[in-house]
């Protein structure tokens, strides 16, 4: 089950510069673990203490996964997951 994951500039050092990589998983949580096995270190940039990091936005197709099921969001073959660091500050 291949899912395309779109990687932001700041995390491309984990993917040898690739803008998009394939990964697998029935849920977002599984997908991120699978990504970690292919691109070690990336999980820690996305997840903190079992939750998505507050300043990382993850989208399933055109929806923010926070409005779906967070890390438990189910995925299907052919889905696209997009990671974008939130643009924020004080």
């Amino acid at each position: 089950m291949a899912i395309e994951v779109r990687i932001p500039t700041i995390l491309r050092n984990y993917t040898d510069g690739a803008k998009a990589v394939d990964a697998e998983g029935a849920t977002l949580d599984e997908l991120i673990s699978n990504l970690e096995s292919r691109h070690p270190g990336i999980k820690d940039r996305l997840v903190d203490q079992g939750n998505l990091r507050r300043f990382v936005n993850v989208y399933l197709n055109d929806e923010d996964v926070r409005f779906l099921g967070g890390l438990g969001t189910p995925l299907s073959d052919g889905d696209t997951v997009t990671v974008l660091p939130a643009v924020a500050g004080g």
Partner: protein, 133 residues
């Protein structure tokens, strides 16, 4: 160094003035490091001390830039009570290594501070700004 047209710089300042006392934010998209397309963003926090792009608006804008082969050349926001220098939170959330981070301060009613920085791995480097007439 950031080279930016006076017109785009004026639009940033106008946005900052309009949203004062809340912080205003947005980007200028472009290609090859040249800022061209002004995109004001909603500050989802509507706060005088914090800003955050609305996540869905950011998704749409980033997708559109991707389709047009653009990048966020400038990421701007305003400080409404302090100087135009990156705060600790600005540094910790800076996530576009290739962007010019522009800060404007609207704390003074008449003078506007307009400054630009690179923020890379926690290090702030101020750069010269050249306004092109």
């Amino acid at each position: 160094m950031l080279s930016i047209s006076q017109e785009l710089a004026d639009r940033i300042v106008a946005h900052a003035r309009a949203d004062h006392p809340d912080e205003a934010c947005g980007i200028i998209a472009g290609r090859g490091g040249v800022p061209e397309r002004f995109i004001p963003m909603e500050n989802a926090e509507r706060s005088p001390t914090f800003y955050r792009f609305d996540s869905m608006e950011q998704f749409r804008v980033w997708k559109e830039m991707d389709e047009r082969d653009e990048e966020p050349v400038v990421i701007y926001h305003s400080h409404t009570a302090t100087e135009a220098y990156p705060s600790r939170t600005d540094v910790s959330y800076a996530s576009e290594p290739d962007a010019h981070y522009v800060l404007v301060s609207t704390k003074d009613d008449t003078e506007v501070e307009f400054r630009s920085y690179r923020i890379l791995e926690g290090v702030i480097t101020e750069e010269e700004v050249r306004f092109i007439p």
